[in-house]
Every structure is written in C-alpha cells, then in structure tokens.
C-alpha cells in the first residue's frame, strides 16, 4: 500500500514537473521581444542622433529629451507628435509598420534655425 502511494506521489510530481517545464518553454518561446529604447536629444537647432534606423515590425520606444528649451517632436508619417519640455523626458511608442525614409522635425518654433531642426528615421525590412 505504501509502495503504491509512493509511486502515485512520484507520478503526480513528475507530471507536475513536466507541465511546469513545458509551460516555461512555451512562455519563453512566445514572449514578446523586448522594446528597444532609442534616446534622442533635442537642442537648438538639432536632434542627436539625426538619423535613426529601425526594422519594420520592431517595437521601439523613442525617449526624447531637451537640453535647452521647449521643442516639439513630430513624425507625421506615423501620426506621432509630442512636446519636449526641458527637464522632462517624453517616451513615445513607435511601431514602424512601413519601410522607407521618414522626416521628423521640431514643430515648436524655437528660433532662427528652427526650420532646419529635422531628422530622418529609416525603416528597413
């Protein structure tokens, strides 16, 4: 009787272990890829970096901050815009779903070089 009980307990433990292992493997295999953070600095009258390359389908967070005054970040091709206030950091979710070269620009007038304050996002396959 004791032997049967030991076998039963062992069997239950084994099956539980297998289920847990299988679940862990499944979760690992299906986990979402980590978001990629890209840090961008804005200051009169430039973005650094001013050229950014990402892959289509990649999950990206643009982390934009200002070193001087209020700026704007506008990536019109993807309907993205944010105010970039000094002392704050804007975290902008970006899901590049099409390939090509796309301009982003400051859309808050910041001085004589404002209109030159642009950059390019390149989305590759």
């Amino acid at each position: 009787m004791h032997r049967k009980k030991r076998v039963l307990i062992t069997g239950v433990l084994f099956v539980s272990a297998m289920i847990t292992l299988g679940l862990a493997i499944y979760v690992r295999a299906n986990a979402l890829p980590a978001e990629r953070e890209i840090h961008i600095t804005a200051k009169k009258f430039e973005f650094t970096p001013d050229t950014i390359t990402v892959k289509k389908g990649e999950s990206v967070v643009l982390v934009v901050s200002s070193q001087d005054r209020k700026h704007g970040f506008n990536l019109r091709a993807f309907g993205i815009r944010a105010d970039i206030n000094p002392g704050e950091t804007a975290r902008i979710q970006f899901n590049p779903n099409k390939t090509g070269k796309f301009t982003f620009s400051c859309d808050v007038f910041c001085g004589e070089g404002h209109e030159d304050m642009t950059g390019t996002i390149v989305v590759t396959e």
């Binding site: 105010d83 620009s105 859309d107 001085g111 004589e112 404002h114």
Partner: protein, 306 residues
C-alpha cells in the same frame, strides 16, 4: 477697379520694381464708392481696395538671398506711396521682423520697422504677427509696438478678423481664441462678407515644412457656415491659392526672400537672389473688394507689368 484704373495701378507698381498681385473680389470701379443699400449681412457696403504686404523680415541678413535686405521694405513703401489711387488701408500679414533670441534686438528691429512703415501715406495700417515676431516671447514685444494679436475691424461693410496662429510657438490658435472667434461669428449673418487675415495657412498646406496651423481645421469649421469668407495669409513667401470648401485661401509673396513651392525640393531654403532679375519672387498685392457679387478675379503680373 475699371480696366483703365487697373492698368494704371499695375504700371505704377511695376515701375517700383515690385510684383503686384491683383486679387479681385469681383470687378467694379475703383473709387466709385458705390453704396449698396441691400448689402451683405444687412450692412451698407461699398467697393474699395486694400494692399497686403507680408513677411518683410526686417533684420534679416543674407546677401546671397537678398543683397538689398535693408532696402526692400523701403522700396515697397515707395511703391505703395506711388500708387495713383491710394488704398483704403494696408495690412501686414506677419513676420514684420526676423527672429532673434536677443530681446533688445527684437525691440530695436520692431522700432526700425515701425519707423519705415510710418512713411506710408495711407494712415490706416493693420498689423499682425508672424512666428518670427511673436513665438519666442508669446507676443510680448510685438504687443508693445503693434497692439493686440487678434482683433476685428469693419470697413465699408466687410468684416475683417485678424487671427493669431503664431504667438503659441506650437502654431496653435488655441481654445480661448477659438471661443472668441465663434462669439464674433455669431454676431455676423451667414451671408456677411468676411475676410480673415492671419499669418500661417489655416489648412495643412505642407506640415513637414511648418506650413500649417495645428488646430486650423477648427477655425475652418467655425467659418464654414458663413457663405462669403476669404482668407489672406503669408508665411510661405509665395503666392498660393486653395479652396477648402467654399472658403478661398490666398497667400502673399514675401518682401525679403522667396521660398520654393511646397515639397518641390528635399529641404526648404530661401531661393537665391537672381542678379539678372532683382527682386524676382518678391512683391505685394492689392485686393479689390467688390460687394455686389462674390467671385474672384485674379490677375498675375510680372515685373514688366504684363
């Protein structure tokens, strides 16, 4: 304006070296000052014309773009003063001065600009701000020199609305001004003759080049119930004509440097000075208001008055 009067006007303006754009809200005789008892919006209305100057950018320096940066505004004043028939009034649709971070320089430029345009014979001049004048200090210096950023005035039966889409550096008209606009429009009958004067385009002309007003569609929506609305603006340093529904939008040339057509080049930059054709792409315009019909007769003219 009759054809004879129109030719006279063109000739004089051509001699001044400026390019004159004649935008007509119908055709009639300049100076006839006919009264129409059954006018629009229940108002007694008369024919008249006014002159639009824009984007004078006083203080700009760039010899390759305009080697006569200190002379062009003065030349424009001479052209207007030389008109055979003086306009009822003059409007400056923004960017009177070129931007600077230095508050004192900004004020100096505004004072110099005011001195120069003070030479205009026409006593009635209406100013409005551009982003170069007002975006860095939310219009503080501008208001010290030129007054309110948004206001209305009426002239011979036409209701003029000056809208500020520049003192917020994000190119926003803003909720409070929209409220003010809607309250003003409520006072106007739906067939009233309305002219909107502003700096930036109210529609999305080319947002990648900053040629838009972020909440401009809300302004257009507010104007839509009114049948007779025309918008005159600046900012893009060239003529451009576009309809949004029944509302016509006309941009003016600059008096400092021209800019390329929307999206025509990868990067927006002033068009270099053409020594073989000085002041090419620069100019001013006259606008005839004729009240019996609402139609637009536009005449493009070159430097030779042709």
């Amino acid at each position: 304006m009759s054809q004879i009067d129109r030719r006279g006007f063109i000739k004089l303006a051509g001699l001044g070296g400026g390019l004159v754009f004649a935008s007509s809200l119908g055709l009639n005789t300049l100076g006839s000052a006919l009264d129409y008892a059954n006018g629009y919006g229940g108002k007694k209305v008369k024919d008249f014309y006014f002159v639009q100057l824009s984007d004078t950018h006083w203080g700009f320096s760039g010899p390759k773009v305009n080697p006569d940066a200190e002379g062009t505004l003065k030349k424009a004043v001479q052209v207007v003063n030389g008109l055979e028939a003086q306009p009822d009034f003059i409007v400056f649709t923004g960017d009177l001065t070129h931007t600077t971070d230095d508050v004192q320089v900004r004020k100096d430029r505004m004072a110099q600009f005011k001195d120069i345009v003070g030479q205009l014979k026409v006593p009635m001049v209406h100013f409005m701000a551009g982003e170069h004048d007002a975006s860095l200090d939310r219009g503080d210096a501008y208001q010290q020199f030129f007054g309110k950023l948004n206001y209305t005035f009426d002239h011979k039966g036409v209701h003029f609305i000056v809208l500020d889409n520049v003192s917020d550096p994000g190119a926003i008209v803003g909720e409070s001004q929209l409220y003010w606009l809607k309250a003003d429009l409520k006072q106007q009958k739906t067939d009233a003759r309305i002219v909107v004067l502003t700096h930036r385009p109210l529609f999305d002309l080319y947002p990648d080049w900053d040629w838009a007003t972020r909440d401009g569609s809300a302004v257009i929506d507010a104007l839509m119930p009114h049948k007779n609305v025309t918008v005159f603006y600046g900012h893009i340093h060239q003529e451009h004509h576009q309809m949004t529904g029944h509302i016509a939008h006309h941009s003016a040339k600059s008096l400092m440097f021209p800019l390329p057509a929307p999206g025509s080049v990868p990067k927006k930059a002033p068009i270099p000075w053409d020594a073989s054709a000085p002041y090419k792409g620069l100019g001013l315009r006259n606008i005839e208001a004729e009240v019996r019909q609402v139609k637009y007769g536009i005449t493009e003219l070159d430097l030779n008055g042709g």
